[in-house]
Symmetry: C2
Subunit: 205 residues, 2 copies
């Protein structure tokens, strides 16, 4: 219940129309929640309409496909868990964030969900485009923003293309997720960070 | 035409049975060649039987599925291109090999082929197992062998887990292949190598 400028309560719920942004945020919250509990299995427009109280017509208007709805919901569902802290120490912050990502991949259906979406997108150009538009490009941008702060602070060499570092940390995790020859675990995360921050060659004399 | 111990020519072709290993190698060569020219499209047991002159019964005996035949053929088809040189300088050798891999991915159907196989394997556990058994685990082993030589030569720190470095070079390339937010090109390859060999932080004073 919000107050208008005269201090009188303004009914936002139950009576009249709720603002579209608010309804949309509620739907995304519902979808993110469903995905993190149950994965893609059983996600349908019907069940999202039922759980969110929003008509299927409205859902179709905002999200033309189930893939788009799932990706948008997932992006919003993980944004708090995968936020980049800024304590002033980029290596510590990236370590925190990658361990959060590891937890999401290993203790929720998120790993399976992402693997299936990337898998299907290899033969479905529409899904591939939506995956990049609604999920991966946004996630890359957030990581790049944190690395550029670190470059300005002199913690990462200025000539480094931070977009490449993203593939060597998160991309390496996706690689083991998609082709599981080796496990995705805390030792792996720590080794990824050590290698790319410190380099694998002996210290210069 | 080989010679037996008395120096008399021994007919291996045309008359009698050829050794199974030789027939098998011929089939793999045929399949590797077909895949690098045309990709997975149109690859069938019928067409391999026709091009190699080996009966479908024999092909089915050796390769229970088209996926297994394709993966085995592809592994053999790329082994010369993707061989690891050993000039004594691991960074130079890895640079050579990664540029060969880049060429394969960008100028042949190999990139699309690998992306489709990894994609399908997300929802096909048999294919996933065959992919690892017949392709990716063998490729990882070859890279690890070259890095371990470098560790013994003091060119890579002895405490580095070289399996992780593999995900940060080849895995990072697969990541951009599968989720093409950013391009796979020569600059990317060179940056991957620079980052992981030298580290992204400023040189220690």
């Amino acid at each position: 219940m919000a107050n208008d400028i005269d201090g009188a309560p303004v009914a936002r719920h139950g009576r009249g129309r709720r603002p579209a942004d608010e309804v949309r945020a509620d739907v995304l919250h519902t979808v993110g929640d469903l995905l993190l509990r149950r994965g893609l299995t059983g996600l349908t427009f019907e069940c999202v309409a039922r759980e969110s109280g929003v008509s299927k017509t409205t859902l179709y208007k905002w999200w033309p496909s189930l893939g788009a709805l799932a990706l948008d919901g997932y992006f919003h569902g993980v944004q708090d868990t995968l936020a980049f802290p800024d304590t002033g120490d980029v290596r510590a912050d990236v370590t925190t964030q990658l361990h959060q990502f590891l937890g999401l991949m290993t203790t929720t259906p998120a790993g399976r969900l992402l693997a299936e979406l990337i898998g299907r997108s290899q033969t479905d150009p529409d899904l591939a485009r939506e995956y990049r538009r609604l999920y991966s490009s946004g996630r890359r941008q957030l990581a790049a923003d944190r690395f550029r702060i670190a470059q300005r602070a002199g913690q990462i060499r200025s000539e480094i293309d931070v977009r490449v570092v993203i593939d060597q940390l998160w991309g390496a995790m996706y690689h083991r997720l998609l082709v599981p020859d080796e496990p995705v675990n805390a030792d792996f995360v720590d080794a990824l960070i050590e290698n790319v921050f410190a380099g694998i060659t002996p210290a210069r004399p």
